[in-house]
Symmetry: C2
Subunit: 169 residues, 2 copies
């Protein structure tokens, strides 16, 4: 099974507490009567440093490298919190696993999903968005979110497959 990709690019930025994402998170925590903890801070910090799409397991693996005492459950539950306050968004991968991506100051978009290597490529179409609005109106359906996924083979995998088939001859 392909690992989710692109989760390891590291960026150095302002101190944790100064970042807007943390302010949003803390507000959410205060508003819902939860508590600020070191684990949650660290998980959010790691999540913000990821790029692309991670599963809860992926994120747990990265977190574990920096603090092996943090449990999977906490990562899992923190991802739920991040979704609630609009910092994370989830996408169902082609194999049924749930992946998470940044949702703060990231415009809505859809995905091309390579069923060979698991990569997700983002794209956006204003026209598709508008048509969706028209369709939900017609059905008196109250839309909450949507997910357009195009499954297929990404260019890299096509090239690789071609190369492999040539060398086999």
């Amino acid at each position: 099974m392909p690992k989710s990709k692109g989760q390891e690019a590291v960026t150095t930025g302002p101190a944790a507490e100064e970042r807007e994402e943390f302010r949003i998170f803390y507000e959410h925590i205060k508003r819902t009567g939860l508590k600020k903890t070191g684990q949650r801070d660290m998980i959010l910090d790691v999540f913000l440093r990821t790029e692309g799409h991670v599963s809860s397991e992926d994120l747990y693996e990265i977190v574990k490298r920096e603090d092996a005492t943090i449990g999977f459950t906490t990562v899992y539950r923190t991802l739920k919190l991040l979704q609630e306050c609009g910092l994370a968004r989830n996408v169902q991968s082609y194999d049924g696993r749930m992946l998470y991506e940044h949702d703060f100051k990231h415009d809505h978009h859809d995905h091309l999903i390579c069923t060979s290597c698991g990569t997700l490529i983002e794209f956006f179409s204003e026209t598709i968005e508008k048509i969706q609005d028209r369709i939900t109106d017609e059905h008196r359906f109250k839309p909450i979110s949507h997910s357009l996924r195009i499954f297929g083979i990404c260019w890299e995998c096509q090239v690789r497959a071609e190369k492999e088939s040539r060398s086999r001859r």
Copy 2:
């Protein structure tokens, strides 16, 4: 968890073996060196009588009513066969379960999925299809299939929620 809906409308038609779907199935069976069995016939027959979207478990439950000796595994594997020969198509529901729908002489379409009752409503947009082609071209992505799902609340559930909130006052 909402049960998948609409799987029980029964239609009486021509004898099994005369139906085009069965010819397609038998051809697939012959072509791939498999064998015709009573179980497979019955599962296909039941599947053809369903409407809407069923999970493998749903289909198993219906099949079991007509023949309690058939096992889940056989239903599950037969659904795979039906997909292979183009009689069934699958859709991932909002909760991660895989649902199956008819794919023979049924045009491609997308779904509005009610996250309250689980109902799937079908729709189609030629424009969206065309835009998808343009996008995959731009990314040199080789499309295999796609899935556009709009999650939200269907009209019936909206009405029901409204009614309930009124009676609570």
